[in-house]
Subunit: 119 residues, 2 copies
């Protein structure tokens, strides 16, 4: 092997999360994430495909309950989205489920989802 710098590897489409390497990779690009960003991404990745409530994200990535009015989860979701977008243009990973939370899942940028119902 070519010296993988970490043990655990979580794969979500073109995204790879390396908890122990303190980094994540999208395609061939390396994402430089801060501790909090990485932690959040890891927890989302471990629940990939499922809707994760803000509450849970706060508890698991911040180690505390989400206080009313606290927007930190949203702010960090944005930070991640920006970095993910830069590293993997054309992909969308973090989806919002209004009223519930966020869901990590690899999807192509535009919207081939005419199967869904909206307004």
């Amino acid at each position: 092997m070519t010296v993988p710098a970490s043990d655990e590897v979580i794969k979500v489409g073109p995204l790879q999360v390396l908890p122990d390497g303190h980094m994540a990779m999208a395609g061939s690009h390396t994402l430089m994430l801060s501790g909090r960003e990485l932690h959040l991404l890891i927890e989302l990745a471990r629940r990939a495909g499922r809707i994760v409530e803000r509450d849970e994200l706060s508890r698991v990535a911040w180690g505390r309950d989400l206080r009313p009015g606290d927007r930190s989860v949203d702010v960090y979701v944005r930070k991640l989205r920006v970095k993910l977008e830069q590293a993997a243009p054309g992909w969308r990973f973090i989806h919002t489920h209004v009223g519930f939370g966020y869901r990590l899942a690899p999807e192509r940028s535009h919207d081939p989802n005419r199967a869904f119902t909206s307004r």
Copy 2:
């Protein structure tokens, strides 16, 4: 795990409601429902086949008694009907029982054997 997993699964014909997954599916389509819509559908699904009074629907899905002149239940039943129709064409799920309430049950759209009429 990669697939949306949840505990409880309520099946009503081609319709699947996943309360814990915060989602519902019709056939293979994922229904994009707002919080209230999902909640209403869940409660209807839990009482599938039975006529549920508006009163009860308001209490269980809105957490409050139905106020006189309040049409919110009707409005949401419509929202659900529209989304269900798009996701599962050819099926009718929410039936009106004039003077009594609504009933969730899977039926083919142009059903020739009208077993009974409301009221």
